[in-house]
């Protein structure tokens, strides 16, 4: 070997590009799920590396809970526009109007319902493959999932009956009406994502960096005050320096206290944190030990 240095980020990047090109080549009608969050922004850069100078051979799709942080939606729209790629947005509100989602309280967390709108969108456009930015280090059910994850016509994941996945030779065959979820960054960790954002100088929503925010404390969590979450009578509103490690539904995504204003500072914090990414920030994962597995069985990506 010569003196070239092939780092872990180079290895992960090349693997992800290879996966995206396999999807483009073998799937009839793929899509890339894009939320404006950090993982999906990394996915966009990987897609640029995989397909430029041509346009992406798939549209970007966002399933909007309408509980998203405005900064994230702004970033989503700006990135899609700058890249000149087609962005399809389907909203949970559409499903609610159609009656396929019935919710008791519009202000409650909406992640459980995302699957419904996602499946409706898949049916509407006839997608046979949806690429998502999920990672195996995020959650223990994800750790068991294949890179090419086969779903039946109800979008269900059967964890006990997964296709074996050998070498880098991916089986992309599906019958009509079935589809696959593909996770090109399965093998990346939270740290890899931050290192890559730094290396590639990616623009991400400002709320990932430390900022002053009005929050209330509920149990062990710090919850951002928003039009959806207002303090209850006995609760005290504090202004803290915080950043978000994940950005999801505003009603159930908690920030962490932080003074990290740059990617390097975030990397330092990530290296020393003693709490997992979702553990600190996702209240919906804490309801039971198997919450993610149950949601995935219902079609969640």
């Amino acid at each position: 070997m010569s003196s070239h240095v092939f780092t872990h980020l180079d290895a992960l990047e090349s693997e992800s590009i290879h996966i995206m090109r396999e999807v483009a080549a073998e799937c009839k009608n793929p899509a890339l799920l894009f939320s404006g969050g950090k993982d999906s922004i990394v996915m966009l850069r990987l897609a640029e590396k995989a397909f430029r100078p041509a346009k992406f051979p798939f549209p970007l799709v966002h399933i909007d809970t309408e509980h998203n942080f405005p900064e994230v939606i702004a970033c989503r729209d700006k990135l899609a526009k700058d890249l000149g790629e087609r962005l399809i947005v389907r909203s949970l509100e559409d499903s609610i109007k159609r009656g396929s989602i019935v919710i008791k309280d519009p202000d409650l967390p909406r992640n459980p319902f995302q699957s419904v709108t996602l499946l409706e969108t898949i049916a509407e456009f006839g997608f046979d493959a949806c690429m998502g930015g999920a990672r195996r280090d995020e959650e223990k059910a994800r750790a068991k999932e294949r890179i090419f994850s086969f779903r039946d016509e109800f979008g269900q994941w059967d964890p006990k009956n997964q296709r074996p996945e050998l070498w880098d030779t991916y089986n992309t065959c599906v019958h009509n009406g079935e589809n696959i979820r593909v996770f090109p960054i399965s093998n990346w960790t939270e740290m890899d994502i931050w290192e890559y954002i730094g290396r590639e100088k990616l623009h991400i929503p400002e709320i990932y960096y430390a900022h002053k925010r009005a929050v209330i404390r509920r149990g062990n969590s710090v919850i951002p005050v928003s039009h959806l979450v207002q303090p209850k009578p006995a609760e005290k509103v504090e202004t803290l320096s915080v950043r978000f490690r994940t950005v999801g539904d505003m009603t159930c995504t908690a920030p962490v206290e932080s003074t990290a204003h740059t990617v390097d500072e975030i990397i330092t914090e990530t290296a020393t944190t003693r709490i997992t990414e979702r553990g600190a920030t996702r209240m919906d994962d804490q309801t039971s030990e198997a919450s993610m597995e149950l949601r995935k069985k219902e079609g969640y990506f």
């Binding site: 396999e22 041509a54 964890p159 070498w167």
Partner: protein, 435 residues
């Protein structure tokens, strides 16, 4: 070299009671890769089950059924890092019925940790796991002799197990075997040396994983470039918002009249330089590399496993499934070959049926013309048979509808491997390694 951090993929294989999950838990815990919320979740579960200490094995059991039954039923991938390396662990179950999962995890691994209970020594299952590691050609093997605390940290016991194991491994042609005595439960020789195994001169497991040389795990000599995707952009599209942003377009590749035609793919082995002569297989046409293009600009030289785009000086017909190689190291091009096959499906092989093969980026129909023999993975004896069932490993002769461009698996893990797909169910039913 520099302080670049490499990625090492390894698997752990062992029987249910060898303490495999505990070993992984120990590696993660002692390398400070377990987070407080994970620890508190498993501590709660341990207490609920009436255990006195925290059961580290609960960390790797991701599925509800596994936690209920206290077993591991599928490959789980775990990630951790030390200042020296990043690691991906493929945790494979030890049960007989899940052998296919070990083949799966082993297929991408640099190293296999084969776990043994020091009280029980080399078992049938140990032989099976070792045979699979040799079949899939995992480059490096570690025999982790666990539960040394249960045999009084006896050096003689360890030596006897190692001698027996090395003799067996040698029969399979495995020579890169490192034996490490340890106690995952106590923590001896996993991350820290501990005080109980002072007679052992080698490295603890983690130190071994951090330092083993993996640069030569891929074939560095034979250039193999299966074309994944042909990227075409017409001249009139250049200057558009899309193409202007990419590094590719700042290069001289952009020809306003003819546009861009790049053959995209990943170098599976060897290296390539701009200006090199290449042969396109199976057609046999030749040309020269004009540019090695990437989003970040052109490269003078590229290596496995980089994902790149190649442009050629001549306009020749190339599509997905074709392979670019160099004339001085040609692979085989043939419609018939022999392979070792691991049958993965619950429905047995039907030699009257056609199946589909996916080999590199090529998908073709295939027939099984003969099953030469089935191997008993416990005794390594060969038996004749007319069909194959799940977990069977066999030597077969195959025919394909279109020629494949391949090397023997022994020479090249990427171009020597394939999967078999059942057209009726779309399931992956077998893993093949060309002889």
């Amino acid at each position: 070299m520099s302080n670049a951090i490499q990625l090492l993929r390894f698997i752990t294989a062992g029987s249910v009671d060898d303490g495999k999950s505990t070993l992984i838990g120990r590696l993660l815990h002692d390398s400070k890769s377990i987070f407080e919320d994970q620890l508190s979740a498993i501590a709660k579960t341990s207490t609920r089950r009436g255990m006195e200490a925290v059961d580290l094995s609960l960390l790797t059991d991701g599925l509800q059924a596994e936690r209920e039954q206290g077993i591991t039923i599928d490959v789980a991938y775990r990630y951790f890092a030390t200042p020296k390396r990043k690691f991906i662990i493929g945790d494979t179950p030890g049960h007989e019925q899940y052998t296919r999962n070990m083949v799966t995890a082993a297929s991408t691994a640099n190293l296999a940790v084969i776990l043994i209970d020091a009280r029980r020594g080399v078992l049938t299952q140990t032989r099976r796991h070792t045979f699979i590691a040799s079949l899939v050609r995992v480059p490096h093997i570690v025999l982790a002799v666990n539960k040394m605390d249960m045999v009084g940290y006896s050096e003689a016991t360890f030596d006897a197990i190692c001698a027996e194991y090395r003799a067996f491994a040698a029969q399979l042609g495995l020579h890169d075997v490192t034996c490490i005595p340890l106690s995952a439960l106590i923590g001896d020789m996993v991350v820290d040396r501990g005080d109980n195994l002072n007679w052992y001169q080698g490295s603890p497991l983690l130190e071994h994983l951090e330092n083993i040389v993996i640069d030569y795990d891929v074939n560095t000599t034979d250039f193999r470039y299966p074309v994944q995707w042909v990227c075409r952009v017409h001249g009139s599209d250049f200057g558009s918002n899309v193409t202007r942003r990419s590094g590719l377009v700042s290069t001289e590749t952009v020809d306003e009249a003819n546009g861009f035609r790049g053959y995209m793919g990943r170098i599976e082995s060897g290296e390539i330089q701009a200006g090199d002569a290449v042969t396109v297989l199976p057609s046999g046409r030749t040309s020269r590399v004009k540019e090695i293009a990437t989003y970040d600009g052109n490269l003078q030289q590229a290596y496995a496993p980089q994902s790149i785009a190649i442009t050629l000086v001549d306009e020749i017909d190339i599509s997905r499934g074709d392979m670019l190689v160099k004339a001085d190291s040609l692979p085989n091009v043939a419609k018939e070959f022999e392979a070792m096959l691991c049958w993965l499906s619950e429905s047995p092989l039907d030699t009257n049926r056609k199946y589909i093969i996916k080999h590199t980026t090529r998908v073709v129909k295939c027939l099984f013309s003969r099953i030469e023999s089935r191997m008993d993975v416990n005794t390594l004896a060969r038996h004749s048979t007319t069909t194959l069932n799940m977990n069977d490993i066999a030597h077969v002769a195959m025919k394909v509808q279109q020629p494949l461009v391949f090397d023997s698996y022994a020479l090249n893990r990427s171009t020597g491997s394939f999967i078999v797909i059942d057209e009726a169910t779309n399931n992956t039913v077998a893993a093949g390694m060309i002889i």
